[in-house]
Structures are given as structure tokens and as C-alpha cells.
């Protein structure tokens, strides 16, 4: 079977869950080969990639690969596409993953599909568009299919692969080194999972009422091991940082469980969370459109309902 390249997403040497999902998807369609861009491949990371089916791990360990914006990763993948003729290239549909996919598509004269929520035979991808209103199946018809797959599109399942490491000798072009990363600023994120990767997301909106009151949302999130999100109304009001905004102009999430507290469910918000598997809504207004999406809804004051829910969750742990 042909190789399928999977660009590894990692932070500080830790492989992200979405990469394990992509390896799982790739196993059903070919032979997964992980691509590690940059230094810092640890034995632990190697073992993790092998555990989820990577037969090979291609490594370009030069710091130059990560010290310049996006272009080196695209050059690395383009070289592997030329050398290894893979059946497809999979990347995570993160903001940066999609940028890598875009540049790679130009370099290899290949089609690209972004934000796939499923991938089947012939690399036909499922997409959910227009804020979740329309389901589309798309495919690449020229070159090597490049598909950016959303986190939480499939459940990661281990199935051991050989995990054979192979160093890639890569000479970056000057153009690829034009945008230099001079400093990385890591913001304190605490113990919570990353918003787009999280299996459970708890979001607060206008109904939360103030920045201080977001501690109610955070309390429930921490009890569930969830990430915290916010509606645009809440981030516009300055109650919660903008990078946690879920919606049309913010992050798109596709978790197993999405809890919306004090969020009315305008299209702006729905576009970012409609593909969640299970949706729970808590809102004072029985007419709020969020209840049309909810698998379970509580009409009531979130300041009463959420703390009680948090207490119950903690009790049952």
C-alpha cells in the first residue's frame, strides 16, 4: 500500500491528539508515515507515533524548519512528495496546518481540501459548510491529495507500526527563510486541554455577565477536564480573551460534548460548534435558538444551574 504522509503537530516534544487521529485515519487508506518538522523528537514521541501506526518517521531536525514561518514545512513536505510519491498528505486543520497545506498545494500543483471532518476511500472528504447547514463531499482531482482534517474527526486507536526513523536531508531555499521567528511567547494556559483539540468544551456567553463570573464556566470545565470557550458577545465585552472565541470569526470546534451556558446561539456562534457530537445548552430564554441544536437543554439561570452541575460532576467522579 502507498504511503500517506502525516505532518506531526506537537508542542514541546509532546505529540498532539489530532496527529494520532490522522494516523488512525491514514491507516484505513494506506501506510502511515509521520513527518516530524524540526528538532526535539524524543523517544517518547517516537514511541507514541509508532503506537498509533506510523511505519516510518521522517525527520528534518534543523531548527531552521521551525524558526521560519510555515514555508520550511511546506518545502519539507514537497520534497517528500517528490521523493516518496505518497498517495496523500494529511495535516491538522489548524490555522497553521492549513497554511502549510496551501503552500504545499502550490508547490506540488496539487489540490487541497480544508476542514475535512471525515475521509474515505479515494480520499473523498466530508466537509460541513455554511455554519453546519450543508454537508459536502469533495475530492482532489489533480496532483497528490492534500487534506487538512479537523481535530476530533475520528477517535484515535492504537495499532502498532514499525516507527522507523529516517532523517531527511533538506536544504531550505532563501525564500523559505524570509519570515523569521525571533521570539515565541507562550501564554499560561494552565492544565486545561487546547480548545480545538478538547473532547469536551464548556463555553460562556452574554449570560455570564462579567469577567469574574467566568470562574463559574471554568469551574465546570475543570470538573469535566474540558477546555473553556466563549461567544463573541463575551470576548467583545472583554470578559474572556479573544483567542478562546468559538464561532464564525473565531475557532471552530468539533468536540464530543459542547456545553453552551448563557449563549443564545446566533449563526456567528453556531458556525463554530455545530458539528459537536452532543450539545447541552443552559439559557434563561426558552426561545434562544441554541435550544434548537441542543440534545439536552435547561431553561434557567446559569448562575444557579452551572454550579449545581459542577457539584454533581465532582460528586460522581
Amino acid at each position: 500500500m502507498s504511503e500517506i504522509l502525516v505532518l506531526v503537530e506537537q508542542l514541546d516534544g509532546e505529540v498532539k491528539k489530532v496527529t494520532l487521529e490522522l494516523l488512525t485515519l491514514a491507516r484505513g487508506l494506506g501506510t502511515p508515515a509521520a513527518v516530524w518538522a524540526g528538532p526535539g523528537l524524543t523517544d517518547g514521541a517516537k514511541a507514541k507515533l509508532a503506537e498509533y501506526g506510523a511505519e516510518k518517521i521522517y525527520v528534518a531536525s534543523s531548527a531552521d524548519v521551525v524558526d521560519h514561518v510555515v514555508a520550511p514545512k511546506a518545502e519539507l513536505l514537497a520534497q517528500l512528495v517528490a521523493d516518496k510519491s505518497p498517495a496523500a498528505v494529511l495535516v491538522a486543520a489548524t490555522a497553521e496546518g492549513k497554511e502549510v497545506a496551501g503552500r504545499l498545494a502550490v508547490k506540488t500543483d496539487s489540490g487541497v481540501i480544508t476542514d475535512a471532518v471525515g475521509l474515505g476511500e479515494g480520499f473523498v472528504a466530508d466537509q460541513s459548510i455554511f455554519g453546519g447547514g450543508v454537508n459536502v463531499r469533495s475530492r482532489v482531482r489533480k496532483g497528490t491529495p492534500i487534506v487538512a482534517v479537523r481535530p476530533n474527526s475520528t477517535a484515535p486507536e492504537p495499532a502498532a507500526g514499525a516507527g522507523a526513523e529516517e532523517e531527511v536531508s533538506l536544504t531550505l531555499s532563501e525564500a523559505a527563510k524570509a519570515a523569521r521567528v525571533v521570539e515565541r511567547v507562550k501564554q499560561e494556559k494552565g492544565a486545561r486541554p487546547e480548545l480545538t483539540e478538547a473532547a469536551i468544551v464548556v463555553s460562556g456567553g452574554r449570560g455570564v455577565g462579567s469577567a469574574e463570573n467566568f470562574s463559574v464556566i471554568e469551574g465546570l470545565a475543570d470538573a469535566l477536564g474540558a477546555a473553556v470557550g466563549a461567544s463573541r458577545a463575551a470576548t467583545d465585552a472583554g470578559w474572556y480573551p479573544h483567542q478562546f472565541q468559538v464561532g464564525q470569526t473565531g475557532k471552530t470546534v468539533s468536540p464530543q460534548l459542547y456545553i453552551a451556558a448563557g449563549i443564545s446561539g446566533a449563526i456567528q456562534h453556531r458556525a463554530g460548534m455545530q458539528t459537536a457530537k452532543t450539545i447541552v445548552a443552559i439559557n434563561k430564554d426558552p426561545e434562544a435558538p441554541i435550544f434548537e441544536l441542543a440534545d439536552y437543554g435547561v431553561v434557567g439561570d446559569l448562575h444557579q444551574v452551572v454550579p449545581q452541575l459542577t457539584e454533581e460532576v465532582t460528586k460522581r467522579k
Binding site: 490555522a95 496551501g102 459548510i129 489533480k142 496532483g143 521567528v181 443552559i282 444557579q304 460532576v313 467522579k317
Partner: protein
């Protein structure tokens, strides 16, 4: 500084958006067009840079005739002139074709800085800025929530999952901006009146040296196989909080094995 800001007309997200049954492209006639929201931040950033460093702001928009409304809005905000890339041959272009056509137009216009929103609210691919940087061979300074220009040097803060990166490069460059980088101004009455007199040059594909076989639906590198309206979600259970709403929600979560 010669700044080109790319704007796109997109369907109003408050309206129901559809794909056409004949060629499976977005039905742009059926809905009201508005300026892509993130592009308004791009226009504002371009105007601020011009105010600080001098120069000229040119609006570039690719789209059907209707897109002139969007161009006028950017001019009313304060841009100096516009180029409207419009040709029936461009209909149905995918991201690869669009980036090629836009890059050809940008080469023709000339630029020190290209600024655009980080994604559109219709296709939401988020790839165009990266593709333009690739095609133009210029530094990619994307997902910026802060832009500083000093002579021929440019620095941005690039949003990342863990916080942000400080990135530096030399002009010319391609910049994409995220929401909240600034507060886009509203066009003043004077601005709206002035916009009517500002020059808008319309380019067809031949004018911008765009090869016909590289654009449009037939050239697309990817295709829609089929599509359908998403099935409505099954009606859920809605309960009224009688002092036990949290406990009831917990029972639901337990029944689904989340706790």
C-alpha cells in the same frame, strides 16, 4: 509605502447560503453580499499604516460585478483607489486558481505590502494569504494581531495555539490579520461621497496576464462530489430549572457516559 488590501464580497452570514445545483458553486445571486468581516480589519490596518508612514492604499477585489459594492465600502473607509478583477472565466475558481489570479493582479499593480483578512466567512479555507506569499516569493506574515513597519523592516505578532510568535521580515511582504487587531472605522458621509469619485480600474484575465486554462471551474484542482442539506438535529430534551436543573443535566451527562 504602496499597500494593496485584498477584500472579498461574501454572502451575509445572517442569510441562508446555498450551493447551486447545476455547478455546485456558491449561489451568490440569491443572497446579499457584504464585505468579508475580517477584511474590514485589513482595510483599517492598511489605512493606519498609510497614516503613519505615508503612501497609497489600493483595494483589490476579485469577484463578479456585484463586488463593486464591497470595493466602494473600502474606498469610503479611506482607501485611495481600487482594482476590480472581474471576468466570467474566473467563476468557480478554487483556492489555487484564486491565489494564482490574485498573484498575477498583484504583480501588475505592484506593492510593498499586501494585507488581507486571515479567512473569508464563506469558504473559510484560510489558505489564500499563504498561497499568495508562496506564489509571490515574499515573506509570509500571517495571522497577525499586531503589525509594525519601520522603513523596509516589518514585524508582526503571529497568533499561535500557545500564544504568539514575534516574526520579522523585510518588505515587500504578505500580511494577514485576525479579528480584533484594530477597530475598523465606519465610513463617514464625506468618505462615502468621496468614494464615488475614486478611480476603480476593472481588469479582465487578459489584462492581468492570467492564463484562461488555470482559472474557473474547469481548471479547479478539487471538486465537490455531492452535497446535501445537513439533516436537522433530532429534537432534544428541554427542561425548566426548578432548582434541580444542574442535577438533571448531570444525569443526562451520566446517561451519555461523559461522567
Amino acid at each position: 509605502m504602496n499597500i494593496v488590501v485584498c477584500v472579498k464580497q461574501v454572502p451575509d452570514t445572517a442569510t441562508e447560503r446555498k450551493l447551486r445545483s447545476d455547478d455546485k458553486t456558491l449561489d451568490r445571486d440569491a443572497v446579499d453580499g457584504v464585505v468579508n468581516e475580517l477584511d474590514e480589519y485589513a482595510v483599517e490596518e492598511a489605512l493606519k499604516l498609510k497614516e503613519a508612514h505615508g503612501g497609497e492604499v489600493t483595494v483589490l477585489s476579485m469577484g463578479p460585478g456585484k463586488a463593486t459594492e464591497t470595493i466602494r465600502k473600502a474606498l469610503a473607509m479611506g482607501a485611495d483607489k481600487a482594482v476590480h478583477l472581474s471576468d466570467d472565466a474566473l467563476h468557480g475558481s478554487d483556492a489555487l486558481s484564486t491565489s494564482y489570479a490574485m498573484a498575477q493582479a498583484l504583480k501588475k499593480i505592484g506593492f510593498d505590502l499586501v494585507i488581507l483578512g486571515s479567512e473569508s466567512t464563506d469558504a473559510r479555507t484560510g489558505v489564500l494569504a499563504a498561497m499568495l506569499a508562496e506564489r509571490l516569493g515574499t515573506p509570509q506574515l500571517t495571522l497577525a494581531n499586531k503589525v509594525d513597519v519601520d522603513g523596509s523592516s516589518i514585524a508582526i505578532q503571529r497568533l499561535t495555539d500557545y500564544g504568539f510568535d514575534r516574526v520579522e521580515a523585510t518588505l515587500p511582504a504578505v500580511v494577514s490579520v485576525v479579528e480584533k487587531i484594530n477597530e475598523p472605522r465606519y465610513p463617514s458621509f464625506k468618505g462615502i461621497m468621496a468614494a464615488k469619485k475614486k478611480p476603480v480600474e476593472t481588469l479582465g484575465i487578459a489584462d492581468a496576464d492570467i492564463a484562461a486554462d488555470q482559472v474557473g471551474l474547469d481548471a479547479a484542482w478539487s471538486e465537490v462530489v455531492d452535497f446535501a442539506a445537513a439533516p436537522p438535529r433530532a429534537a432534544g430534551t428541554i427542561v425548566k430549572d426548578e432548582g434541580d436543573g444542574g442535577a438533571k443535566a448531570a444525569e443526562f451527562l451520566a446517561s451519555k457516559k461523559f461522567i
